[in-house]
């Protein structure tokens, strides 16, 4: 299915071609009912985002509201344990507790400029939902968040936060009742509300221009890392960068400004669930094949008949049967290495970080930490790991495994 135009221009690691392709992945596979809204975004997002006054407002909110730059913390005891120099990019210290707010602020500001008064979002772990509800409260916009019934149960604190923030949380009852179906429901809502609504997608997935737009908003993470690492070590470039991948937005953010630095090894960590071959996994690059999900062509976990399968991960934010097209391209081209961590490995690593550094990580981020056990690290190597979120929302799960 290779088209002429992307034979001519296949896009780069960072940027898709004009049709939204990173190599063989991307595009905008949407029904006509979404065309006007997606096209409106596509035509305007670059101009709006790089408009001076937008940048001013965005950067000011990131600084004064979110608390950016988030610290780059040299984790001494974890470093000693793994015999390497490990720096944690503390996205967990952002207002609302994860990297998701970087994108939510960007997209809601953008929606405001497009004159949209109603904001919808999907959420898995609830972090993106909370971030979006937060920014909507700040801007006085209506907010509707779609969330799988199963996730509503396992991420109760975040559901309460969204409601307190004034958002309507709509349970997604179809299919696997997790993130995939919450995303379907959000897309259907957007089809039904074509005039006043903007859909804030929470990861680097969806039809073009979403993957590129979300990656740009999250790229602030690696922009800061380069500067912070230079201040702390005298070099902007680490040897390795590690992040967990659900849809891939925190990974896209921390990889972004290193993608064109061949000396920097990029490691993406997927959720293996109960094990790759257990039938209860969410490790898309291990189990997926090329397919179309949520409007883009990427790697998708599916049956040979093309039905999307229900993934499993203990972490609601990684419980997704696809990855963004940028990551499918990084995988196919070999630019990034893809590892996976099981539920148990993630739980162990969460406990380890908590006891060694006094930081309770989100279950999603704990998957990135678990990969430290799989890497051959040397003590002269500098590794930056994206601590994408904090673990408050996961305390229930943690308490169950601790006793």
């Amino acid at each position: 299915m290779i088209s002429k135009s992307f034979r001519l221009n296949k896009g780069t690691y960072t940027q898709p071609n004009i049709f939204g392709y990173y190599g063989n992945f991307g595009g905008a596979f949407i029904p006509e009912m979404l065309h006007r809204n997606v096209e409106e975004l596509r035509e305007n997002y670059i101009n709006i985002i790089y408009d001076h006054s937008f940048q001013e407002e965005y950067k000011s909110l990131l600084k004064n509201y979110v608390g950016r730059p988030s610290p780059l913390y040299f984790a001494k005891r974890i470093s000693a344990h793994y015999r390497s120099k490990i720096y944690l990019k503390r996205e967990d210290l952002n207002h609302t507790g994860a990297h998701k707010i970087n994108n939510a602020i960007g997209q809601v500001l953008l929606a405001n400029r497009l004159g949209k008064r109603r904001i919808i979002a999907e959420t898995g772990a609830g972090q993106h939902g909370v971030a979006t509800a937060t920014v909507c409260a700040l801007m006085g916009l209506e907010c509707v968040v779609f969330m799988g019934v199963k996730d509503i149960e396992r991420q109760a604190p975040n559901v309460a936060r969204m409601r307190m923030l004034g958002a309507t949380v709509v349970p997604a009852t179809s299919g696997s009742q997790t993130l995939k179906d919450a995303t379907n429901e959000a897309i259907r809502d957007w089809i039904n509300n074509p005039d006043d609504t903007h859909y804030v997608i929470g990861s680097v997935v969806g039809p073009h221009p979403y993957p590129d737009m979300v990656a740009r908003f999250q790229s602030i993470i690696s922009e800061e890392v380069r500067q912070q690492l230079f201040e702390q070590t005298g070099s902007e470039l680490p040897n390795l960068v590690v992040a967990c991948v659900g849809g891939g937005s925190n990974a896209a953010g921390i990889f972004y400004h290193f993608l064109d630095e061949p000396s920097v090894e990029l490691v993406a960590v997927e959720a293996a669930g109960l094990g790759i071959r257990s039938g209860k996994s969410a490790a898309t690059t291990k189990l997926g094949t090329t397919g179309i999900l949520h409007g883009s062509k990427s790697l998708v976990m599916q049956t040979e008949d093309g039905q999307v399968v229900e993934p499993h991960s203990i972490s609601a934010g990684l419980d997704y049967p696809g990855i963004g097209p940028m990551h499918a391209h990084l995988f196919e081209s070999g630019r990034a290495k893809f590892l996976s961590a099981t539920d148990d490995e993630a739980l162990q690593s969460a406990l380890e970080l908590t006891r060694l550094e006094g930081i309770i990580p989100a279950l999603e981020s704990a998957h990135a930490l678990a990969a430290l056990n799989q890497l051959q690290l040397r003590d002269d190597q500098v590794l930056v790991l994206c601590l994408s979120g904090r673990g408050d929302k996961d305390l229930d799960t943690y308490m169950k495994t601790l006793k």
Partner: protein, 255 residues
């Protein structure tokens, strides 16, 4: 000219096209439903290929797809069921499905197979214009299938003309931006279809989404060449254990 072209040649208005999901309510319901539709006076059939994540569909069609998948419906199985159907079914018949299951089967293989069986055309709501022109169009033409694009009241004129130019058989006018199965007010459909007519499109126009009973059918079909019913029929099928009887009752109530 194919069966679809012939139909619109012969009949200029009040054409009734019926959608149902293959493999629902039972795996083997496909042929009995097609026969019943023919017997009770439908003009055209849209045979839905079930998909786990149908973005443009409401709960009723979604649920019928999930049931069909649980019943074991797959593209190879459906092709099997359709073997020889043209000895009994004369109605123009299109397949409607999302792109993913079809490309997993193999798009060219699929076109070849359905064309060989006597299927007349394809509706794939998430197949984008760009990819259609770059790759898919040639294959669809090669196997002499019609391809029907959807348009909405929000589709701008220049894009409408383009989609009309690439469609053959008819143009699918979605009544107002929505997923399938939503209640609609058809008052604005008149102006919408008038606008389409003024553009002097090359294809006949069928209105769909939200058409569910005699009243909505007659208002949708009044200005266009006809209308398409899906959700309401699937609903009726789900409520009965006799698909022929369900079809009879449904057809009696629609016109």
């Amino acid at each position: 000219m194919g069966r679809i072209g012939n139909l619109f040649e012969r009949k200029k208005d009040s054409i009734l096209s019926i959608y149902f999901t293959a493999g629902f309510p039972e795996l083997t319901s496909t042929l009995p439903i097609m026969k019943a539709l023919q017997k009770f006076g439908a003009d055209m059939i849209e045979l839905g290929i079930p998909y786990s994540d149908p973005l443009a569909d409401g709960p009723v069609i979604q649920a019928s797809g999930s049931k069909a998948i649980a019943n074991g419906m797959t593209i190879p199985k459906l092709l099997d069921q359709l073997r020889g159907f043209r000895t009994e079914i004369g109605l123009p018949t299109l397949m409607m499905g999302y792109l993913n299951p079809i490309i997993q089967f193999g798009f060219e293989k699929f076109c070849k197979a359905i064309s060989g069986l006597g299927i007349d055309g394809l509706i794939i709501p998430d197949l984008p214009l760009h990819e259609f022109e770059e790759y898919f169009e040639t294959l669809i033409k090669k196997f002499e299938l019609d391809f029907v694009f959807l348009v909405t009241p929000e589709t701008p004129d220049n894009r409408l003309l383009k989609l009309d130019g690439l469609s053959s058989g008819f143009l699918y006018a979605v009544s107002s931006s929505s997923i399938t199965g939503r209640d609609k007010n058809f008052d604005s459909v008149e102006n919408y279809v008038k606008r389409l007519k003024e553009l002097k499109l090359r294809n006949p126009i069928m209105v769909g989404f939200g058409v569910k009973d005699r009243e909505t059918f007659s208002s949708a079909a009044k200005y266009a060449n006809g209308a398409i019913v899906g959700t309401a029929f699937v609903n009726q099928l789900g409520k009965s254990d006799n698909v022929e009887e369900a079809t009879r009752v449904f057809m009696q109530n629609i016109r």
